[in-house]
Symmetry: C2
Subunit: 137 residues, 2 copies
């Protein structure tokens, strides 16, 4: 399952060996960086107090603590960029992007005590949550 | 801008040096893998012909071609996982997750000839597109 991911990262390591430069660890382009064999879990949060910077900061703090769950492979805590076109939804307060190695790792995250504590401590802050779970097409 | 990302990858390289095992290229946990300084562009597509496997395959083919745009740092083409809870939206056909180094790279992607060709050749397939653009919170 991790095979392709290893292959990608091995490419990066080879590039490092070849040049000795840390920047070379990054693939030159996406052609070298397909993310395969992933479980992508993307959550968007809308706050009850839409304009409360304080509540947003609290939720951010909660997500930072949540990121410690061991089965998470990569995470990104986001907020709307300043792009603005018809198709763009920029009404959410925070975006919580997670990558897992597989479905089992995601299931483990759902029941992880850190995740359960997060829900207990922070769910009063949000009005709406939308989740998109995606696996390789 | 790439500083933190480099730092993460350097950690991975150090882990490799320490163990000599390719698996060590992967961070042990998310604590080692925050994705910082990113522009995350996540697009969800709903097809006009909802149940057409043929149209879904066509769009997938289009996205694979689109992934060649040079400014894309990482991409993942997804479809709904088999998770199913109230908060999960699993009605879309395909998910198109992109990571860019910054806003400028994303803007460049929007006007890249490969992207314009993609829209011309494939937009007749979808009924609805929702885009979430996120930057570090």
């Amino acid at each position: 399952m991790q095979h392709n991911r290893r292959k990608f990262l091995s490419k990066a390591a080879l590039a490092l060996a070849a040049t000795g430069a840390s920047a070379a660890l990054l693939p030159a382009s996406a052609a070298d960086a397909p993310a395969n064999n992933l479980f992508v879990h993307h959550v968007y949060f809308w706050l009850k107090n839409k304009d409360s910077k304080e509540d947003k900061a609290k939720l951010l703090e909660g997500l930072q603590a949540l990121s410690k769950v061991k089965t998470i492979k990569m995470f990104h805590i986001g907020q709307p960029a300043d792009t603005n076109r018809d198709v763009i939804d920029r009404s959410y307060a925070l975006s919580w992007l997670l990558m897992f190695d597989n479905k089992v790792a995601q299931e483990s995250y759902q029941v992880d005590p850190i995740h359960l504590d997060f829900i207990k401590a922070y769910s009063h802050l949000w009005e709406r949550v939308v989740v998109y779970d995606s696996v390789d097409a």
